[in-house]
């Protein structure tokens, strides 16, 4: 994303300097694998070379989901996951004046921002009635939607892709939505989610479902073969977690856990309270704990939004015992350490709001929104108890 937008160069994306791998006695082999022979303990490479292993860690990541539609294989239809996708997009860019992005999630909004930064007109198609509304409650989704439109991206809610129109050379020249609306474009970005990238293990004896099945120690059914990250599917996910989580932080924690195990300190995968973050154009998002997209019989919400700025704050709590369940914030930075402890210690919503300013993480001299939020919460609380 940042390379395409000119914020960084490819080399800046590398988390370590090139010498890191040699210094740590790690050999990088840039090659595709085609299979796995677990009885011989060998990985088969595309060049037919075989690598033997004592322990094998599979971290093959995800693949973008595809749609079965007319024109889906046209030149100019792609997802955004891999370096190759970025290179392909860069090659196509000079010939794109107008683009359609399909799928209102995190990658979709990033792709929309990328294309927009290069002066391309962007049509952003979302199947649901608001942006990322499987996660974001209505108010937050609306704020993000309005912000995306303020940038000049055209947002189409409740809109699905019906067909992709191509020219004689099988290049994209437009799309048709299920409302029969025709949108001329030279590029279609498919960002409708991802699925584990496990095709190469089809006949390897590896037990798979959506992903590679692993137990709490991240071991697969094959001896000394482990799977972590996007490609792994937990047989018994921890409470409140999904079996497959295509999320950076989950992948990292699986890596940490397995590193301990392989270094002789066997550990089970025990992620702490959920946290996540994102950025939608200029609006930062952070979340700690679990907040549903709407209130339920058990879960209640309290919401605050800044009258002018793109800042909002939502807490979820248990209706019955008022236990704090989680927080969503837009445009306000919150301190992870504090919320981590509050969630682990099962604090009540009132305890959390009482101590809220401890979680202030915005830059020095900035308005402490958390003070305003705190005051608004207790004012509201007083009114409801008086009733």
């Amino acid at each position: 994303m940042y390379v395409y937008m000119g914020h960084m160069k490819w080399e800046h994306l590398q988390p370590y300097e090139a010498s890191f791998w040699d210094d740590n006695k790690i050999t990088l082999i840039h090659e595709r694998i085609t299979g796995l022979n677990s009885s011989k303990k060998e990985v088969i490479l595309a060049t037919d070379l075989r690598l033997s292993y004592r322990s094998l860690v599979l971290a093959t990541g995800s693949k973008p989901n595809r749609l079965d539609l007319p024109g889906i294989n046209a030149l100019g239809v792609q997802g955004l996951y891999h370096k190759k996708d970025l290179e392909q997009l860069e090659r196509l860019t000079p010939s794109i004046q107008s683009a359609v992005v399909v799928g209102g999630g995190l990658i979709g909004v990033e792709l929309a921002e990328m294309l927009h930064s290069r002066g391309i007109e962007v049509h952003f198609l979302i199947r649901e009635n608001a942006f990322w509304n499987t996660i974001l409650p209505k108010e937050e989704a609306q704020m993000i939607g309005a912000h995306i439109e303020a940038h000049g991206v055209k947002l189409y809610c409740n809109t699905e892709l019906k067909a992709i129109e191509t020219d004689a050379e099988n290049r994209v020249r437009g799309v048709i939505t299920h409302k029969e609306e025709q949108l001329p474009c030279q590029f279609v970005g498919l960002t409708i989610g991802v699925h584990p990238n496990i095709d190469c293990f089809r006949n390897s004896g590896l037990e798979t479902d959506r992903g590679i099945l692993v137990d709490e120690q991240l071991t697969t059914n094959l001896p000394d073969v482990y799977a972590i990250g996007d490609c792994a599917q937990l047989r018994n996910p921890p409470k409140g977690r999904k079996a497959t989580e295509a999320v950076w932080y989950s992948g990292r924690m699986m890596g940490e856990t397995l590193a301990e195990t392989l270094s002789g300190n066997p550990q089970t995968y025990t992620p702490g309270p959920w946290f996540n973050s994102a950025k939608f154009f200029d609006i930062e998002y952070q979340t700690y704990g679990l907040v549903g997209p709407q209130e339920t019989a058990i879960e209640a919400h309290w919401y605050w939004q800044h009258p002018k700025q793109n800042c909002s704050f939502r807490v979820a709590y248990n209706k019955a015992n008022r236990q704090f369940l989680g927080v969503h914030s837009l445009g306000i930075r919150l301190r992870h350490k504090i919320f981590h402890q509050w969630l682990l210690n099962e604090k009540s919503i009132d305890q959390v709001m009482e101590a809220l300013t401890q979680a202030h993480f915005d830059a020095e001299f900035s308005t402490i929104h958390l003070k305003t939020i705190q005051a608004a919460y207790f004012k509201n609380r007083l009114q409801t108890t008086q009733k």
Binding site: G6, Q14, P15, M253, Q267, G272, S277, A363, E364
Partner: protein, 513 residues
């Protein structure tokens, strides 16, 4: 007219005004005019034009920090415009330092060209015709003003950046430019001494040179005040402020070199190298410069006090005991109490040099040998003035902005930064806090760090950033897309966390061997 149209009009008006101002400057440097009206029009048109332009430019954008296209632009990605600008700036600096006559400066007669163009301003402020240094100071201040205004508009969503930039502008305009010039006028014909209150030793490397000490001593109450204030800055004010706020109180809030780097240099901050090898080079270079200026200053003071009737009235033996005490103190504190916090190479270099210095002082200084280090102190300070004062801090420091980034001098050379950095690393409440496990290793922080710190390497491990070179500009925190970084002052005890993994994972790590 809608908002976009009026902004375009505003932007073009600003552009035209700025260009007319620049044209007047060009005219001024090629004619021999010292017309006050022309100079004032030139300066105000440039200031007004650029302010209008940047206001209109950024008001047309949705608030938020946009670095779109930075690496596509030939000015900011070391492309041809960058090289051209770098060469032009370098040429300008060479002219100022070594060939001021090219800019119109004359010692015997009335100056001409660019220098003379600034006569009206110089006469108004200090009552004398402009020198090349006055012309340079004016342009320097103007650059901090106009690029400071641009910076404020660019980072207008971040109050830390706004206040910090106002501070930099204030200290440059007031403390570095207006006040010294006015004081010079008030102080009449007494010999020169530095009147910039914030410009302390060793950044002001000639503070302890004989002519400067005598200048202050003969400079009446102002001179005496400057001497005492200068000493207080070094010994009391600076260590205290650095303890409470980190070295940023100076480097990115007050300092003039930092001021130019933060404003005019901002478009080039991403060009600093983040390689570990360059970090090593940086540590060696900056500490060598610190050693160089320390030795030079000691030698100069030694020579100065060799005359028992010196202006300070301090005997050489007092200097001898003082230095011996100071060295021993530094050796005990750094080499003793804090030795575990120094990396191996630093520790041994430190021991070696410390021992050599004490031995030299003890053996040669005991009988007042002159020169103390076997090299004439005049020679030493001439070398320092040329190599460090002129070539490094001036020509390379600013001339190479578009090629090596905006903080070349601050990072590799400034002995002031070295001292403050040592203090920041060992005794300070300042740190950049990493927000638990939220880092996604995107690399924005490292890319936009002007000091070449690989911020990400700490953040992705969930560790706080405590580096001697950090000037606390806060841009890493501003460009972070996930709210991971925050500049903070807090108790020194909890600065360095030693957890194996970033926050979020509940696994039990292996006990340390």
């Amino acid at each position: 007219m809608n908002k976009t149209q009026s902004l375009t009009v505003l932007k073009n008006t600003g552009l035209i005004a700025g260009l007319i101002g620049l044209a007047l400057l060009a005219y001024g440097s090629y004619s021999d005019t010292d017309n006050g009206f022309l100079l004032w029009s030139c300066l105000s048109l440039i200031l007004l034009g650029t302010s209008l332009y940047s206001a209109a430019l950024y008001q047309g954008q949705i608030p938020g920090i946009q670095n779109n296209g930075v690496w596509f632009n030939a000015l900011t990605n070391k492309g041809y415009w960058g090289w051209l600008l770098g060469m032009a700036l370098t040429a300008f600096y060479i002219a100022i330092y070594f060939y001021p006559e090219l800019l119109g400066y004359r010692t015997q007669e009335k100056s001409t060209g660019l220098v003379a163009f600034f006569d009206p301003l110089s006469l108004a402020l200090n009552g004398k015709p402009a020198t090349q240094w006055f012309m340079y100071g004016s342009l320097y201040t103007l650059a901090i003003l106009i690029f400071g205004v641009k910076f404020i508009f660019k980072y207008r969503t971040n109050r830390y950046q706004i206040i910090r930039t106002l501070s930099v502008i204030f200290f440059q305009l007031g403390f570095a430019f207006l006040i010294p010039e006015l004081l010079a006028k008030l102080n009449g014909d007494s010999p020169y001494f530095a009147k910039d209150l914030k410009n302390m030793w060793p950044l002001n490397y000639y503070f302890f040179e004989d002519w400067h000490l005598d200048g202050m001593l003969q400079g009446g109450s102002l001179g005496l005040f400057m001497l005492l204030f200068g000493l207080a800055m070094i010994v009391v004010v600076s260590p205290l402020l650095t303890y409470f706020y980190g070295k940023r109180w100076y480097c990115s809030w007050v300092c003039g070199c930092g001021g130019l780097a933060e404003t005019a240099g901002d478009p080039f901050r991403q060009l600093s190298s983040k390689k570990i090898s360059v970090w090593k080079l940086e540590r060696w270079m900056i500490h060598c410069v610190l050693l160089f200026i320390s030795i030079t200053t000691i030698a100069v003071l030694w020579t100065y006090t060799a005359n028992p009737n010196n202006g300070l009235g301090i005997a050489q033996s007092a200097i001898w005991y003082g230095l011996l005490f100071l060295f021993s103190l530094i050796l005990v504190v750094l080499g003793g109490f804090y030795r575990k916090q120094l990396p191996t190479d630093a520790r041994y270099t430190f021991y070696t040099i410390g021992t050599l210095l004490i031995l030299t002082l003890a053996l040669r200084g005991w009988n007042g040998s002159e020169p103390l280090f076997g090299i004439s102190s005049y020679q030493l300070r001439a070398w320092y003035g040329f190599a460090i004062g002129a070539v490094f801090s001036g020509v390379l420091g600013v001339g190479f902005y578009p090629l090596l980034g905006s903080r070349v001098w601050c990072r590799f050379g400034c002995p002031m930064a070295a001292i403050l950095g040592l203090q920041q690393r060992l005794f300070s409440r300042f740190r950049i806090t990493t927000n638990g496990g939220q880092c996604i290793s995107c690399g924005n922080c490292s890319t936009y760090c002007e000091m070449g710190i690989d911020v990400r390497s700490y953040a992705q491990q969930g560790k706080n950033i405590i580096r001697s070179s950090c000037v606390g500009c806060g841009i890493c925190a501003s460009v972070c897309p996930r709210g991971v970084l925050r500049l903070e002052n807090d108790t020194p005890n909890n600065r360095i966390q030693d957890s194996a993994y970033p926050l979020g994972n509940l696994l039990k790590t292996m006990p340390k061997k």
